[in-house]
Amino acid sequence: MMAHTPQHSDAQLLLAAADWWTRLRDPHAAEASVEQWLDWTAQDERHLAAFETVSAFGERLGTLDAAARRQLLDEFAPPAAPPRRWLPLAAAAAVLALALGTGLLLWGRYAGGAGTPVTYASATGQNRDIVLADGSQVTLGGASRLSVRYGRGERRVVLEAGEAYFQVVHDARRPFEVAAGDVTVRDIGTAFDVRRTGDAVAVAVTRGEVRVAGPGAASAPGRTLDAAAEQRVDWDPAARTLRLGTVTPEQAIGWRSDRLEFVGEPLATVIANVNRYSRRPVRVNGTDLAGLSFTGTVRTDEIDNWLRALPQVFPLQVRMDEHAVTLSAHAANGPAPSRR
């Protein structure tokens, strides 16, 4: 059909057709709705075609076989679960024993949606290597936390804080997904780095390809980006946009060899990441400093020296106390913040 219409209007058309489908589905839909729908189909021949597509798709979904239906229901619409949390341990064990006794089949059903998450964390200043159950390797940056849940149909990882580098063993039947704040990264056979700084997320790909989805990616077509090796996707929580850029492997994973590399990043982001390696927490006083842009390398074993050198490149002063380091704007009215 109209292969040359822009994606945008295709998506809108599909949404409109889906909307009509749900309206007409209701057996008690007003006759006026049917009339309006007929008018809509008469407006443009693509309208009816889109509706037919949606309707045929609906039929396919409604006629899936029993096992497929059950699997979808188990995962996406489990019956209002009894509050399992409160189940006495013995009872839970009995349920488990029963499940094991009944065989693989039940195992498959429970493993499909919700394995028990396993949490990994690293101390400040320490990277940590982890090998996951499927052989995928993760290097966790300093002060980082990760939870991993493997089901039969998915491998799901949540980066709760900090940074991690993933070398994923590809399995088309079990996609590997990393959620970091608002952003979801899906591997397509890949090695990639995910760094979470507050709500900001940076995804840097060193090999293969990933798909990065922002919140509401389903409804907003611009909220998904594919990134290949040496590309980087940044989620800007203020602008609520994904941005594609480039990155070298050194920049992406220098931290694994004790070098944090930054290219044009806000000082606040730089400090937040340095803090994952710093003996003493570093604070930034004043919002005018936070927005300064920093490009360069911070050696994690030389953080104090780097901090001492900062006033040479930024209009700020550094105060080092026993338990903290404070960066604050020059008392004197220095020059306008420079960008370097």
Binding site: A11, L14, L15, A17, A18, D19, W21, T22, R23, L24, R25, D26, P27, E31, V34, E35, W37, L38, T41, L48, F51, E52, T53, V54, S55, A56, F57, G58, E59, L61, G62, T63, L64, D65, A66, A67, A68, R69, R70, Q71, L72, L73, E75, F76, A77, A80, G103, L105, G108, R152, G153, E154, A172, R173, P175, E177, T184, A213, A218, S219
Partner: protein, 184 residues
Amino acid sequence: MSQHHPIDEIATLPGHASRVAALFREHNRALLAFLQCRLGSLADAQELAQEAYVRMLTLEHPEQIDSLRAFLFRIAANLAVDRLRMRKLREAGSADEAAEPEPELHLAPVPERHAAAAEQWQVLQAALRELPAKTSRAFVLHAIEGRDFEAIAQTMKLSARMVRYHVTRALAHCRARVAEREMP
């Protein structure tokens, strides 16, 4: 009233028969799509569409009808309601069987059973995972389990309108994802 009269035999009003024929030409595709939407089955839709035309042809007083098109879709909608009711009764009749545990082979992992369907199945599953939990839940309850919007609204403590909204979003999203794979 028999369903099997050829058009010319019933056409006591020749003018009316040709109007119905025109109606058919102009709106048959929409009628089928409408019925497929209601019934979730194109085969059933075709059957009921035929019946709807026969009823149109055998109207006693077609001249009293304002809009033949509206009337055609009203008849079709009523036929669809009857058909759905019939299905429900049939399902209720076989509820005892359904309650029995199914043989194990039904539970073999879906993707392994039909190589061709496997990919679509995965795309669907993946697409659903990209959606907010409420959206995928409402959608699966409606499109897969066949529950109506009111029932889902009660279960999920949402308005029926919100349920419809979620189902619409999910339907468009999943369809788009599946289409991406069909025509790369």
